[in-house]
Symmetry: C2
Subunit: 252 residues, 2 copies
């Protein structure tokens, strides 16, 4: 494979950096080990195409509006998401909980679809959000079934979000074995206090795991009195996952 184009790689790195928040030219140049002049040229170009905007007064750079449209255009073309939308709605209605669909992206779970819990409480849409692999039910499913996901994670430190986050690699490995044997994953207060989740794998052509679908909600609704995921919810999630997989296999 011949070499990638340097300027484009650098521009992408700049965008990834800015996704974490607005930065000044100096910070950007320093983070990427680039001369200020070079970084400025990249920024200037990204600004002309609308991928980056600059604060008039402070001079700081932030992401631009054109990226929003590109991001949502990705969603429209996403096979997994478009197939899963109907099943996700049904799952949310039946389970009474919020439903999310996730895929692997560079050591994270990328949320590609989100159906609000069917009640009137205000909720924030987290389509496009990145979640940790090891602390969410969606992520555990991806880790358990996709070798290309699990490999890179071995290098990374398992960061702790709550007291119950799994941070020991051995313990995570055991949990993933359990996921594989049961065919679904769960999580209680490992990422957000008071929140629990259940997820199952979505499979494509030859059983290949493409993503995960799951419900999440208050821990006392998702888990029963004996600290276990409610079996009714588990069945609903598993059924939905199988339905999406069948859908993908039929037409894909």
């Amino acid at each position: 494979m011949p070499g990638p184009i340097q300027a484009i790689e650098r521009a992408a790195a700049v965008l990834q950096l800015l996704a974490r928040g607005r930065l000044g030219l100096g910070d950007i140049a320093a983070s990427l080990n680039l001369p200020k002049g070079t970084a400025h040229g990249i920024l200037r170009t990204l600004r002309t195409v609308g991928f980056v905007e600059q604060d008039r007064t402070s001079g700081m750079y932030r992401l631009g509006a054109a990226l929003l449209h590109l991001g949502t255009s990705y969603l429209d073309a996403n096979e997994l998401r478009s197939r899963a939308i109907n099943w996700a709605d049904a799952l949310a209605a039946r389970s009474g909980e919020a439903v999310r669909i996730g895929m692997h992206l560079e050591g994270n779970v990328l949320v590609v679809h989100h159906v609000f819990r069917p009640d009137d409480t205000p909720q924030t849409l987290d389509v496009g959000a990145l979640l940790p692999l090891h602390a969410t039910a969606l992520g555990k499913v991806l880790l358990a079934y996709d070798a290309t996901v699990a490999g890179p994670l071995a290098q990374r430190r398992l960061v702790s979000f709550t007291r119950r986050t799994i941070t020991a690699p051995a313990e995570l490995a055991r949990a993933l074995g359990e996921v594989r044997s049961r065919g679904w994953a769960s999580e209680a207060e490992e990422y957000l206090p008071g929140e629990a989740a259940i997820a199952a794998p979505i499979r494509g052509h030859g059983g290949l795991v493409l993503g995960a679908i799951g419900v999440s909600g208050a821990v006392d609704r998702v888990f029963d009195g004996s600290q276990r995921p409610r079996s009714g919810l588990v069945a609903q999630v598993s059924d939905a996952a199988r339905a999406v997989s069948r859908d993908l296999d039929d037409t894909g």
Copy 2:
């Protein structure tokens, strides 16, 4: 201003192209007047950074998942949106209609926020969608108040979406004058049959129009018996727009 970086400009053009749908290498090269080899190098680079994906079997290219995260990261940093969220919720609750907030992007209205109509009917989120300037209430507001928006549009043909879409430049100019004198814009079945909308400008520092906020819904709910926008709704929208503007001015 020194020249922008060619490779990055081209990469951006490729992404904009792919936002319209998946394409083969040949199509991309032809559309951009590039040799296939050059286009391939750009695509290969965009693939390594996750901005583009390629179909294993057909070889076709489509946008990549990394863009989704960038797009939503833009939303998090967007001042206008974050200020307006609370007011948009309130407007939706009071009016009983869907609320959208739009900004100008390259001759279109970019939807940066969307609150569903507060009932149980299924609705699709169109944050990130691009709407026409001349056929929507949000767009008319932007056209009426922002010279940098109106200028470029003069060159473009006014495409027709329904029988009621304004396609004559003179008629549009008259309508925009009316918008300026009233302080708000409306639209009935000019974009989607059965749909009507009302919108008002959101202003920043020195009265500069940054975007627009408005409601949209069934034409017989938004308009009254005599084909005019319901005055109650107009007042609600105008109030919301003023509230957001004040919010922006206070802290911006």
